[in-house]
Symmetry: C2
Subunit: 186 residues, 2 copies
DNA sequence: AAAATACCATACGCTACCGTATGGAAAGAA
DNA sequence: TTCTTTCCATACGGTAGCGTATGGTATTTT
């Protein structure tokens, strides 16, 4: 009875488990690395489970966009709810994005953004996240005294920097990043 | 005689034609979109031609990294040979990267940079290009009066901005980009 | 002109992977 | 306990695409 072997040992998977596996694969290998059968093997099931939860890979992608966007919006709201110094908050945000446990997060971010030109669902997810982020960071700059249009330009620069800095080869020491961050924040 | 049909009509392809087709596919679809048989069809030949010129896809990728790096280094050298105002030069560079005919160029750039973690040849190509670019742009900032460490930070910020700005959703009007550019350059 | 070189077309074998259909088993509800 | 729902395993069919081998032809060299 091969079928009882897994069911006896591990709880049933839900959609979340599959989506989490997909994000891990996305971070490591990009969109074409998100494959049903290899992921099934990793999760210790067969693709029967996958196709119960999702109509096809495309449905998985759609779920990923939504999950990612909701998570990112929730995160920026949590991260900017603090009443601390806006300046310190901005530096902390850069640190969150630029280093620490966010290597996968940034890879996922870049992968999703890479799809915005060809998939409107990705574009919608990104628009939702960016709208919230730019508004929140712009408000922080406003608290530091910038006028509206300058706050918006700084927020734009802030996020462009966050995404772009990870792509540059060479020295990655904290001092260069800190110096560049200061050019934005101060 | 099916074999004479193309040879009679079109000149023979060389490596360059194949590499150019690969870059177009890379820009449009990413690395997994760079496929031998579809490209052959687009070029009006069969894969016999491809496998005469390249051992396999991997050899094509290697050639692409080298071609790209040489082209980018050549370009930045040409673009910064001018004796014009360093400030105007910096603005022109941003424009070159951020708009105009560089949509494909930026997509290729991001695709190659996306591989640096998993392919040392890509990492080498990127390191070569970034070294040249950061040095050149840093020198421009030095001409504007910045000290060495500040010039380097500004050059880092400059390129992070160039790569990142294309990834941000929402308003893409020239005024926001110009305002952000001014925060870097002025 | 003949020989050598460069280029290309086609056939072939293989496989990773997708999606579909069907039946089985676990878990939940009545 | 029985029935229903949820979840999963497996078999199947199909194919896009890779790389290899072989033969043909155009172009260049001698």
């Amino acid at each position: 009875m091969p079928q009882t072997s897994r069911a006896k040992k591990l709880p049933r998977l839900d959609k979340r488990a599959w989506i989490a596996a997909a994000f891990a694969e996305l971070a490591a290998h990009g969109w074409d690395g998100v494959r049903v059968e290899p992921m099934a093997a990793m999760l210790g099931v067969t693709k029967g489970s996958f196709y119960w939860h999702f109509a096809d890979r495309d449905a998985l992608f759609a779920a990923m966009f939504i999950r990612w966007a909701e998570g990112r919006v929730r995160a920026i709201r949590n991260e900017t709810v603090d009443d601390a110094d806006p300046r310190a908050l901005l530096y902390r945000l850069i640190d969150l994005y630029a280093r620490g446990p966010n290597t996968n997060g940034l890879a996922i971010e870049l992968a999703i953004r890479g799809l915005t030109r060809s998939d409107s669902r990705a574009a919608d997810a990104v628009a939702m996240v960016d709208g919230e982020r730019l508004a929140r960071v712009s408000a922080l700059f406003a608290k530091l005294g910038s006028k509206t249009s300058e706050s918006e330009a700084k927020a734009f620069l802030f996020y462009a920097f966050v995404f772009g800095q990870s792509l540059i080869a060479g020295r990655r020491d904290a001092s260069l990043r800190a110096a560049a961050s200061a050019l934005i924040v101060e």
